[in-house]
Structures are given as C-alpha cells and as structure tokens.
Symmetry: C2
Subunit: 218 residues, 2 copies
C-alpha cells in the first residue's frame, strides 16, 4: 500500500513552536566553555542534524573537520591573536578600551574544535542554481553550520563561531585541499555561562535593535 506523502506530513503544535522559540532564544554565540570533552556519540548525532541542511542543487558542499591536534590548535590560536590585535588597531578611545576587554573566542578552553569548509570544486549538484549567484554554495554550508549550532544547543552543548581568523592560515594549518574555503571555525563544548541575551549586548558593545527597519512588509 502506498501512502500519500501528504498524509504523513507532521503537524507542529503550539508546544513545539514555543520550545523552538526557546531554542532560538537560548542558542548564543558561546565564548565561555567548560573543558569537559563532549561525548563522541553526541558529536555524531549533532553532525547528522547538520547534514540535513538545504543545499543549492542538492550539492551538500560542507566539510566539517574536527581539530584535536595540539600543534594545529596552537596555529589557529596564533592566527586569532594576530587578527584580533589587527582588529583592535581599527578602534580608538573608549571603543578600543572596550574592544580590548572583550572575550571573543573560547579557543583555549573549548574541548572540541571544528573547522567548516565549503568545497568550491564540489561537482555534486552539477552546478544547478549557482550560475548567477555562486555564493549560494557557501550559503549552503552556513545552513549546515546553523543546524549544527541549534542541534548542539538542544543536546546541551554550546557553540561559538570564531571569524577573527585569517582563512588562508587556517586552511594551511589544517592542510585541506585548495578548493576548500573556510566558512567558520567552531568552538564546541558545555556552555559555562548560559544566557538568553547576547554577550555583546550585556557588556555594552552592541544591543539588538528594533526589528521594524529590517522587515518591510506590504
């Protein structure tokens, strides 16, 4: 007996929608981690959720590389320190003083690290959907990263996205193929300070603003 897929489509009730809202509200970009390692099975489950992301032409171009090697982690940390020092030079006065005090990565404490690349040479999907907007390949990877992030939070694991890095230095440190372009470097582990308000808002760098200007509805 064939079942019409229409009749298998699940309903998402108010309770689920409220909990999904909570998941988004408590997601956070985590910089304060407990050093306890994350169970391998939990990591595998989170990766399965990540792999369910949409992708242009069904290309699935994301490449998640776990980084456990101590020497490689030192190279990443050095790239961060250098990039962060350069970023600091772009600020002046009070803003520079505040920037210098910000904790912008959990690279030292996070028990698990993942570098996420986009394989720009990915043949899967045969190029469909990415002729006029080739950046959709990297965008597909971003959605896989966000699935990873949300699933991690559901499993009580925090994720911090570090972008203050030289992407070429990361690519070289990890010796990945030339066609793999860095999309994100993720710190992963138990969140030492869970909160429902972004840290940059709490420390006075940047609060969220009113949504109206971002949504122009007719």
């Amino acid at each position: 007996m064939s079942i019409d897929p229409k009749h298998r489509m699940p309903k998402f009730d108010d309770t689920f929608i409220e909990q999904f809202h909570e998941l988004l509200a408590w997601r956070r970009d985590v910089r304060h981690f407990k050093t306890t390692p994350v169970d391998r099975q939990i990591l595998e489950q989170i990766c399965k959720f990540a792999d369910m992301a949409p992708s242009v032409g069904n290309s699935q171009p994301w490449r998640f590389v776990q980084v456990s090697d101590a020497q490689k982690r030192v190279q990443i940390q050095q790239s961060f320190l250098k990039s962060n020092e350069q970023a600091l030079q772009g600020y002046e006065g009070e803003q520079a003083a505040l920037y210098a005090k910000l904790k912008l990565s959990g690279l030292k404490e996070a028990p698990e690290h993942f570098a996420v690349f986009c394989d720009e040479a990915c043949s899967q999907g045969a190029g469909l959907g990415r002729q006029t907007m080739p950046e959709t390949l990297a965008y597909s990877c971003v959605m896989a990263i966000y699935n990873f992030w949300l699933a991690a939070r559901a499993f009580e694991i925090g994720v911090g996205w570090v972008s203050i890095l030289d992407p070429v230095e990361v690519q070289e440190a990890l010796q990945v193929p030339d066609s793999w372009k860095l999309v994100a470097y993720l710190c992963v582990g138990k969140d030492a300070r869970p909160h429902d308000t972004p840290e940059l808002e709490r420390v006075g760098w940047q609060a969220r603003t009113e949504a109206q200007k971002r949504f122009l509805l007719d």
Copy 2:
C-alpha cells in the same frame, strides 16, 4: 530577587529533539505552491523568528522586503527566465533535457514573495568580527533566512529559495539602496506537495550522498 540565568536555561527533551528532527526532515525547498494568501499575522510571526538569528558583532544586517507589486514581480520573473535559459545552455544531451523539464521556482504561483538583502553598509556592530572574513555579514543574513524557513514550516508554510536570478536586476527592480546586496529571493505559501525527500532527488537530478566524506571526526 535576581534569578541566576543558569537556572532558567530550558531543557530540551527527547520529544522535542524528535520533532525538531522532523522539522528539518520536512523543510524542503518548495516549488509547488497553493495560491491562497498567507495570513499577515503568520507572516509577522515568522519574521520575528527570523530576527532571532545570530549575527556577526550583533549587526543584524538582514533586510526582508515583501514584494507584492505585480510589475515588480514580472521583472523578477523575467530575470529568472533569462538566467534559467542561460543556465540551460551549460548542459548537454540527457542532462540538458532533464534540466529543461525541472520546475526550479514557484514565482508564478507563490502568493507571497520576499527579497532578502544584506546591508553591506550596516554600521551596527561597529565592524566587530568581520575584518578578516567580511562575508560573515552575508552569512548572518543566511541564518535569518534559515530561521524564516524553519519557522514557516512549523506554521505549515512552505518556502522556496530562488537563486537563478541576476542579483543586480533584482536590486534595480526593487529600487533598494546600493549597499543592499541580494542574498535570497523567497517564494512563500502553502506547500502543494509536501514531501520528506528533496524534489531534485525524486526527479533524478541529484540524490543526497553518504555523510562520511563530509564529516571528518578524529
């Protein structure tokens, strides 16, 4: 009495995690829409979920523009038809024949359209986190789009991401500021053919592949 935020952090139980898995499994890139308009309040709710996305430096650079004007929609449709015809020229033989038969957008039937832009001139966040990887600004918009997509599905609304468009033509048709760069054009409405398998897989263009090569765990 102050409440330690640690004690307010919600727990996500197995039931929620299963339902979240279902949400990801049934999300789909929708191209077959019912023409029934979407309730304005539902659209507003979906936009609220979209606005909860993470963003580099808390910059919130996404700009969602609803497109209801018939003339503007014609211009978008023309850009799609031209871009799709050009894409077809890149295929040969059986692949070209299959490509020509694919339904790659629901622009004609979808009751609601949204163009989503990234404001590259966005000063919110004061540039934090985007010196070495400026593309993280657009990536923030991708996560807002994905929030929109997932929330829509939870509210029984389908979303289709159209990338076969000339981004400059869309920008011009909608007369948005020069600094607003197109990230996605979304068709939104009731899904006429819900399914848990990607359409590109069902029609034989591209199946999903084994996850192992995408997740290199130590």
